[in-house]
Structure formats: C-alpha cells, structure tokens
Amino acid sequence: MTIAELSRKKVSRRAVLKAAATVGALQLVPPFIIKARGEGMVKIGLDNPLTGTYAALGKNELVGCRHALAEINAKGGILGRKAELRVEDSTSGDAGTAVQKAHKLIDRDRVNFLLGNVNSALAQAMAQVANEKNVLMIDPGGHTDPITGTDCHWNVFRVCNTTQMEANAVAGVLVKDYGKKWYYITPDYAFGHTLQAGMEKAAAKLGGVKVGGDLTPLGTADFSAFLIKAQAANPDVIIFLTAGEDAVNSLKQAVQFGLNKKFHIAGAQQELEVLEGLPPEARIGTWVFEWYWKQPKVAHVAQFDAAIRKITGKVPTARTWFGYAATWTCALAAERAKSLDAVKLAKALQGFKLPPAVSLMPDGAFYRASQNQLIPDLYVGNAREKGEPGEPEDLFEVTRVVKGPDVAGTLEDTGCKMTWPA
C-alpha cells in the first residue's frame, strides 16, 4: 500500500490534528495589507522587559508610561498631535532581542522617542542603536553608571539614579546615624562589584572604613559562613548588596542569626516590588528608595497615587514613576523645542526642570546639562515588616529625603564627555 492509498482511506487523526494546527497558526499570520500607520501620530517606543526576571519592574514602568500618555493626550497631545505608545518585549537578559526591537521601533515604526531598559546592559545596547540612528532615548530605570558617565551620549537621557548617587545618599545617613565601620556582603558579579566600589568610595569621603567583606557566589543558599565572619569582624553596619533570591536568603538568615539585633543592617538601592516579594521577617534594614508613594506634604502625589491605584489596584512604585516621568519628558521636551528633531529635543532638555506635577518630589528634579542625568530627591529610610492596618503596601518608612545635587558629585566625577553632532 502506498502512502497515497493510505491517505485516501479515511480522514486520519493526524490529518485532523494537522488541520487544527494550521488553523491555529493562521491566527498569527499578519494581515496582508499593512494597517495605516497613522502618520499624524507622535510615536513613543518602549523596549522593556515584559517577560523574565525583570517582568514585574518592566510592567510597572509600562503602567506609568500609559498613564502619562493618557494625561498627555487629554491635554492635547504632543505639538498638537496625538501621542501613541508602541510596546515591545525586550526580554530580561537578551541584548540581541532588545537591539532587534530597538531597530524595529526606529526603522519600521519610525518612533520619535525610544524608552528603555530595566536591565542596564540592554539599556547600554539600546543606547548604541539610538545614537547610531539619531533618536532621542530616555532610560527610565537602568542604573549602571556609564550610561550617563563614561559612555554618555548627547541623545541618551536617564530618569533613575546612577548607582553612585544611591550609594552616596545611603552612605551619608549611615555614617551619621549608625557608625563608620562597615562589613560588606556582595554578590560576585559586575553589578555587585560596582555597587560595593560605589559604597566604599562614598564611605571613604565621610570617614567610613571597611572592616571586612565577602564576595558571595550568585545563587548562594547558605550564607551562614559569611554571616559568622561578619559577626566576628564586629562592624557597626553590615551592608547587604545581594539581589533577588540571594537577598531573600541572606536577609532571612541574618534575622535568624539575630544579627539585626546586634548590628545595623543596611544596603544600597531597594524597591517596593522587592520588599513585597520578601518574607515579612526579612524586611529589615536601611535602604534608599528612588521614589515613594507616601509623600503627604508634596503636591500632586496623592492624585497620582489615586490614579494608579484605580488602574492596577496597587500603589505606584518608583518604577511606575520612572515610566511616568520618562514619558512626560518626551512631551515636555517637544513643547520646549517646538520640534521633534532629536538634536533640538536634546538641547531643550539641558538643565530642564520637570514641573512639580511630573517630578512629584519635595525639591523637584532636573536633567543636569552635559550629562543628561535626572537629579532628583532620594528617599533614605527603613524597611518594615508590615504596613499600617489598611495600608499593606506601606513597607518603607522614609527617614530622610536627600537632595540630588548633594549626592550627584561633580560633572568631572561622572566621567561624561559629551560630543554633539556637528
């Protein structure tokens, strides 16, 4: 019997499955005629993680972007044209995909602004593309220093702080309030090393000393050996620079060892998303937040908080604000430049101070000229086990608001030497 004869006999199970699969696949086939591109729209492209490790952070930034976009359009759009957000998933770690999506947004969708990325490495890769293509880019939440430091570009702006600014902010408070002898628990990879170097540099300026430290391999489950060593060194403060699962394990074990009773526990950057993910007993220590939703004395914050709660049912986080401020920056730059030309936009943002309704901070925030870095307030405070009754997300108690210019260092410190296109 040949195959042809076989197939004639009856409709086989396989044929039915094949047909089903084909029909399923057809749902994904692009429509033959391309939809009208809406030439009149001003397009903002967001190339940010929606999947993987940073998905939660990326999605909160997306919420902020969408909210800002709605406000912008309600106020008449950008230069009188409606604004539109194009969202692409950059993945959490694959630079190839992030770059491909950046090309897609710039070359195919012709976006006027490019936003991204939570992952610093991907943000740097995107900055290369944006610079090649002369598109204004705003990095909402990728912290590594070179983006507005040694590898700064005229067209790349950043909303979130540099790691050095965060280290400076928290170091000042720690030295003042808790003591000068520090012990470091640092994850052994680029981000950890940079963070520790930043903390040491900040501490040294204020007379802080390092009494010891350990580099812990990524994915360490048992920190007891490191914690015993830390205890023996008898520091004033134990600095935890661990992130993700490592942070959960190290902080939990520090509490189990009773270290939080004997020493002060602290770290550098912390986020509400991370605190919410920690078991309550591990929510300890002094940290720096880049924005906090509970600022009763600052105008507009309550409205922003209420608006975001209406959308997500949760409070806005620093990430939500990053997305919000980044998107508004696009609109404000265009208003100021009266143009969508990247060079004019970038010039318009030099030294530009965000209006209070966007900065949502007691002292406001401005883009430092010739560095393109936003200089905002920073919020140093303590993590707490649980919020007030009725406010389960109030997991951070701000003790000091640090002014950005005090911790940003000089322009020479950043290492940024900007060259503008001729």
Binding site: T2, I3, A4, S7, R8, R14, L17, K18, A21, A25, L28, P30, I34, L50, T51, A55, E88, D89, G93, D94, A95, G96, T97, V99, Q100, K101, H103, K104, D107, R108, S120, A121, Q124, A125, Q128, V129, E132, K133, T144, P146, T150, D151, D188, Y189, A190, F191, H193
Partner: protein, 325 residues
C-alpha cells in the same frame, strides 16, 4: 515518484529562489511589515544554524555548546575593535580565529565521546566561557556587556562603505559572507569528505570497518562547524554593536539547535528556514502577546511531533509523494 532529473531541476529552482529572496530582501522587507535589520538577523542566525547543522545534520553529532564558538567570535570582534585596532575586517578575522582555535582544542579533547555525553560536555565547555565572560569585569564588561565600540567603515581602497549608519550596506556585507560560507559548506558536503561524513552519520561502526579514521573526520567536521559558527558570532556582534555574556549561554546553543531542527536538519537550507521562522515568529508574536515564548515552544513541539524532518523536510516529502486525489 518524479524522476531524478525532475528532482534536480526542482532543486535548482529552489536554490535560485532562496538566493533571489535573500538578494532582494531589503527591498521587500518593508512591504511585508519587516525591517532590514530583521533580515540581517535571519541571515546571521541562519548561517550559524547551518554551521551547527554541518555537524548535527551531516555528521550526526549533536553539539549543545555552539554558543561558545558563536560567542567567542562575538567577543573576538568586539574586543579587537574596542582594544586593538578599529577595523571591521580584522575584527572578523580575529573573532573567527579565536572561535576556530577553541573548537580545535576542545574538539580534540572530547571527540571520543558519543551521543548525550558529547552533548553534555559541549554544554559544560560553553558554560565555562560564559562564566569567564560574566566574571571578568575589567576586560569583558561582565554582565553589563562590552560597550564603547561600533562597526567601522569598510575601506575598499577606492571607496569607503559606511556599514554603521547604512543598514543595507551592512546587510549586503553579511549576505556576501553568508554566500561564501554557504558555498564552501556545500562544496565540502559534495566532496568525498562530505560523503565520508554522511557514511559516519549513517553507520559509524561500518565506517570504522571500512578504515575511515572516524574520530579525525568528526573532529574536522566539528572544527569546520565551529569556524562558520564563530563567523556568525562576529556578524551578530557587529549587527548589535554590543556583546554580552548571553551569547555564550546555553540558551543560545539551545536556540541554534531549535532552528536547525525546526527547519529540517537533513536539508542544506533547512536551518536557514528554521532561523527565519524562529526570528520572524519571535519578532511578530512578541509584539502581540507577552506569552510569545509559549507560542514559540508550542510551534516547536508541533513541528517535532508531526514533521520530525523539519519544515523543509515536510515540504519536500509532500513534493516527492504528492497525495493523489
């Protein structure tokens, strides 16, 4: 069954169609909702998957660690331009040399292993390179990646080609290198050497009884495969103007194997088709839903279940045994 000459004519037509499609890609990409860089990525990853398939499909040896040679090529070109000489061709040469040397050394160490043991050891070696790149911050930039470099204009002597800002020019450079590589691989496969590789794939023991130095042939195939994979890596780095340790990660190796299997590992063009499907599907579906990885996975499962010879293998099956109505 169609006659042999008919198959030959069919194959010629198919080859011509592939080349025509590739040569005109930048001109029709926009019309179907794509963009030039997407085409470049398809060609680059297609070349790499074809290189992997030289080993997998035509020698019958599964390497699950080709990201190592791909990534070494990528770091080779990046670091050459960043630290040594700002020259694209020299960077490509260095990248390929580094990747090929690594394949030759590692291949010599592990070529006696078979099957899953071979695959596991290739993963292990690739992960070694991954962690070196991840940890050696001062040189590779660690997790943050290698930045501060970009592809340099090509100096042809009589003219300069700006491959940095002109995406099309870069595409044609990639296509040229792809054509040379594909031609070389096809020539090798048609030669007696290629025949020997097929013999080893079909029955290693018999090949050994015939007096073929099996290990040497496998090693040579591994090195050739690594050479073209590292060329793919250099082009990938140049496309992104960026390298990070992800290119060395076993995820990357896995994706390359998926591309080869998806397209069809018994056919020469299969991996290119696989890469095209993989890249375009990812590009398209990921804009529609954040659960795009499930769709990609589902598609792969379906292909493996129902078309074990890959998309091209299935298409060829239909052409060769058309169902009579």
């Amino acid at each position: 069954m169609p006659s042999l000459s008919a198959i030959k004519v069919g194959r010629r037509i198919a080859n011509a169609a592939v080349w025509l499609a590739l040569a005109t890609m930048p001109y029709w990409m926009k019309a179907v909702g794509g963009y030039t860089e997407l085409g470049t990525e398809v060609v680059v990853l297609g070349l790499t998957a074809m290189a992997l398939n030289f080993l997998l499909g035509f020698t019958g040896v599964l390497s699950f660690g080709h990201a190592a040679y791909f990534g070494l090529g990528a770091y080779g070109v990046g670091m050459t331009i960043r630290y040594l000489v700002p020259s694209t061709p020299l960077g490509i040469l260095v990248g390929v040399a580094v990747g090929t040397t690594a394949t030759a050394v590692i291949g010599a160490l592990i070529i006696r292993l078979r099957g899953v043991y071979f695959a596991m050891v290739t993963i292990a070696f690739a992960q070694v390179f991954y962690f070196v790149a991840f940890r050696w911050n001062s040189v590779t930039g660690g997790d943050d990646g290698l930045i501060g470099w970009a592809r340099q204009p090509l100096d042809l002597g009589f003219a300069q080609v700006d491959i940095l800002h002109d995406g099309r020019a870069f595409y044609y450079l990639v296509l040229l290198l792809f054509a040379v590589s594909a031609g070389l691989m096809a020539l090798l496969l048609r030669s007696p050497f290629g025949g020997t590789l097929l013999a080893i794939r079909e029955n290693e023991r018999r090949a050994r009884f015939l007096g073929i130095p099996v290990e040497f042939h496998m090693w040579l195939s591994f090195v050739i495969s690594g050479l073209f994979a590292s060329l793919g890596g250099t082009l990938y780095a140049l496309l992104n103007n960026f390298v990070d340790p992800h290119v060395l990660h076993w995820n990357m190796s896995g994706n390359l194997v998926i591309m080869a299997v998806l397209g069809g590992m018994r056919s020469f063009w299969g991996p290119l088709i696989g890469a095209a499907i993989f890249v375009v599907l990812q590009d398209y579906v990921s804009s529609l839903t954040e659960n795009w990885m499930s769709f990609l996975g589902l598609f792969f499962v379906l292909v493996v279940l129902f078309f074990p010879r890959g998309v091209l293998g299935a298409a060829r099956g239909v052409a060769r045994f058309p169902a009579k109505s």
